[in-house]
């Protein structure tokens, strides 16, 4: 975005300043339990997210192992359904969303020239809710009836038949929602009130912009989910009939309320990724981002459209023709701002001096593979076509393409891009390139065949299948195991980088110079980012 010159006053490590703040971190467990520092909390979010990524990933490995060949091999169907349901809940609420909040914690104060987040105590609270929420969710495996098995969408009446784990599931979702809302409020207040002098909104880096819009989406829709699951709770325990047809309710109404939350939710998981990619591509193309202002408008239009397209998740439920047309058209309209973004990213690369460090590799992979997910999304938006694809593996392939090489690759790109700034060490780039190539190859082996399976009619959420689907399922499972194992490399690289390694310079990447205030800070970044506000031209 705008050229940013850090004044000479970027940072004075020995400067005595505001004595309400502790200059050095507390020691031991207290540093983490009572953390109010944005970097400590960001680290906790990211580590938590990585742990959840491996737990959710282990569930996915079980799913792919069961689907390796037809018939029931390893588990009974109920356990299979528990795995699909909780894989989704953990990956969405435990891995992707906390990872983005962790990145926001680390980077937003550094990018806008602030010393810390605006609301440090609430920041602590919003993080520490999460381990409790997920312990509650995961502990349901031990209660009678087992974990929830009705899909992450929790459609009644099936979700109302969940065993004793039902209230635990609902309260865990309430806690995750509260955490997200607090995180969102913190991001908005920080961005609105803590920017350095001269850092007006249009000069603000795109990662901050994408998070500002995401934060508003979170505030608008997480409470709607809280309402929907509360209605499930009262239907289950207090004899209300919101979704119970025998009492005059309607189960389809749940789908409307859920997807009014659910569609903005999927953009909550991709908009910060757009911001990350918009930071990384210019650095390694050594060019300013093409059409930076149009990028902001594109994110804002996608966010607006996300509120009016929820019906496309339920075309096959039965819906008046006019509503089907409206949802189909408005959904396809989203391809326009998304197309603007993909075009601008591609134009940023055009005639740039490209170099292919690990963050750039992941960003390029994102650009290419996310677009494939976008294309299958446009296909699914077409009503008559959706009647065929609905509830098949084509849908599974679509949303995994936008979430794995989309959201997850963007998070990994962000970690590879900024971790030298966080730890002060350059990681093992050779190993990171191995991680990239293994991930990119296996993610396609894993998910691309699922398009074919879906088009051939293989239903989703099924532990067994007809024999003609065997070959592609085997290929997909091999891809799954390869992708899962490759992620161990990621953990190794990150831990190595936290422990030591070659010293990173303040700039880290030679293309990073004009691309943001964070590169004016030394590596590792000081405990309080900008104790004196930098000057922004």
């Amino acid at each position: 975005m705008a050229n940013v010159h850090a004044g000479a006053a970027a940072h004075h490590p020995d400067q005595a300043h505001d004595d309400h703040h502790h200059d050095q971190p507390a020691t031991g467990i207290k540093r983490w339990l009572f953390a109010t520092n944005h970097k400590d909390i960001g680290t906790m979010y990211l580590v938590f997210s990585l742990i959840m990524f491996f737990i959710g990933g282990a569930m996915a490995m079980l799913i792919r192992a069961e689907l390796f060949k037809p018939g029931l091999q390893l588990m009974d169907p109920v356990f299979f359904n528990q795995m699909t349901t909780n894989h989704a809940l953990i990956m969405i609420f435990g891995a992707v969303m906390p990872a983005f909040v962790g990145l926001a914690n680390w980077m937003i104060p550094m990018q806008i020239g602030a010393p810390d987040m605006a609301l440090p105590r609430m920041n602590n609270f919003s993080f520490w809710i999460l381990p409790f929420a997920f312990t509650l969710l995961l502990s349901t495996i031990f209660v009678p009836g087992g974990m929830a098995a009705a899909g992450w969408t929790l459609y009644p009446p099936l979700s109302l038949q969940t065993g004793d784990s039902f209230p635990m599931l609902i309260f865990a979702i309430h806690m995750m929602g509260a955490s997200s809302i607090m995180g969102a409020i913190n991001v908005i207040v920080t961005i609105m009130n803590m920017r350095a002098p001269g850092m007006n909104l249009l000069k603000m880096p795109l990662f901050c912009w994408s998070w500002l819009i995401t934060a508003y989406l979170l505030i608008a829709v997480m409470p709607v989910l809280a309402g929907a699951v509360t209605m499930l709770l009262t239907d289950h325990f207090f004899k209300t009939s919101f979704f119970n047809a025998a009492g005059g309710g309607d189960p389809v109404m749940f789908e409307h309320i859920f997807w009014f939350f659910g569609h903005p939710e999927v953009y909550i998981m991709i908009l910060p990724a757009f911001g990350i990619i918009s930071e990384i591509l210019p650095t390694f193309a050594r060019k300013p981002l093409f059409g930076a202002t149009s990028m902001i408008y594109a994110i804002a239009s996608i966010a607006f459209l996300s509120f009016i397209v929820w019906g496309h998740h339920m075309f096959a439920d039965g819906m008046p023709l006019a509503a089907q047309l409206f949802y189909m058209m408005s959904t396809m309209l989203i391809a326009v701002p998304t197309g603007v973004k993909v075009f601008n990213w591609t134009a940023t690369l055009w005639r740039g001096s490209l170099s292919f460090e690990p963050p750039m590799l992941f960003a390029l992979s994102f650009l290419f593979l996310f677009t494939i997910g976008g294309f299958s999304g446009v296909m699914l938006a077409i009503v008559p076509v959706d009647f065929q694809y609905n509830q098949t593996y084509f849908v599974v392939a679509h949303f995994h393409y936008v979430l794995v090489p989309g959201a997850i690759f963007a998070i990994m790109a962000a970690v590879y891009y900024w971790i030298p700034k966080w730890t002060g060490h350059m990681y093992n780039q050779t190993l990171a390139k191995w991680h990239f190539w293994l991930s990119t190859i296996f993610v396609n082996v894993l998910f691309f065949p699922q398009h074919f399976l879906g088009l051939a009619g293989m239903p989703r959420r099924i532990p067994d299948y007809a024999v003609q689907f065997t070959d592609w399922n085997m290929v997909s499972s091999i891809g799954g195991f390869g992708f899962g194992l490759s992620q161990i490399l990621f953990a190794v690289i990150v831990v190595q980088c936290m422990r030591g390694g070659q010293k990173a310079s303040a700039l880290v990447w030679d293309g990073a110079r004009p691309h943001g205030l964070e590169w004016t800070l030394p590596s590792p970044a000081p405990y309080h980012s900008f104790t004196t506000a930098p000057e922004v031209e």
């Binding site: 605006a118 609301l119 809302i181 969102a184 409020i185 908005i188 207040v189 609105m192 009130n193 803590m194 505030i219 608008a220 829709v221 997480m222 409470p223 709607v224 989910l225 809280a226 309402g227 929907a228 209605m231 004899k239 919101f242 047809a245 025998a246 009492g247 005059g248 309607d250 389809v252 109404m253 409307h256 309320i257 009014f260 939350f261 039965g318 819906m319 008046p320």
Partner: protein, 179 residues
């Protein structure tokens, strides 16, 4: 304005937004009902109850009414229409019955929820008497015919020659005996 009061003001606004979103989620419940009624879909008609409008019988037009019965869960009830379909004239009052039998070993209570298809035609199908208006009690092994009395509205669009009346039979025993 110093940062602290600016923060406080912004936080207040954002908390109000959160509360409004929560309220909106609940408001979707009546809004959904209003919308369904406006476009004539879902079971809004069933909740509205019967609207009786006796009009002139149209002897030149014959409509086929098909009856479909389904228990909500397998094994608890036998539930079927006594006739599979009827040919009727719009505007004339007809009677038919559905048979239900309790297959469980306990006394039970059940309620039927009707649905008319094709969509948008529910407003032309008037039930003047229906076993679905009230919950039905059954002793152990008890079975009986339950009446439905209906008129098809002569205003029914000309392109419709076939209506399906489908009942789903829900077991309410648990929810009525639960403390």
């Amino acid at each position: 304005m110093d940062r602290k009061s600016a923060n406080r003001k912004l936080i207040r606004g954002l908390l109000i937004m959160t509360a409004c979103s929560f309220a909106f989620g609940w408001a979707l419940v009546p809004l959904y009902d209003v919308f369904c009624r406006a476009v004539g879909i879902g079971n809004a008609e069933a909740k509205a109850g019967p609207a009786v409008a006796r009009e002139a019988i149209d002897p030149n037009r014959e409509i086929t009414i098909e009856f479909v019965a389904a228990p909500a869960s397998v094994g608890s009830y036998e539930f079927r229409p006594t006739v599979a379909s009827m040919r009727v004239h719009p505007g004339k009052l007809y009677d038919t019955a559905f048979y239900a039998k309790n297959l469980t070993s306990v006394a039970s209570v059940a309620q039927a929820v009707p649905s008319i298809s094709p969509s948008g035609t529910a407003q032309y199908f008037h039930k003047t008497e229906c076993f679905c208006f009230t919950s039905q009690k059954f002793g152990v092994g008890e079975g009986r015919d339950m009446p439905v009395r209906f008129i098809v509205d002569p205003q029914l669009p000309a392109n419709v020659d076939r209506l399906t009346l489908a009942y789903t039979f829900y077991d309410l025993t648990q929810s009525t005996t639960r403390p």
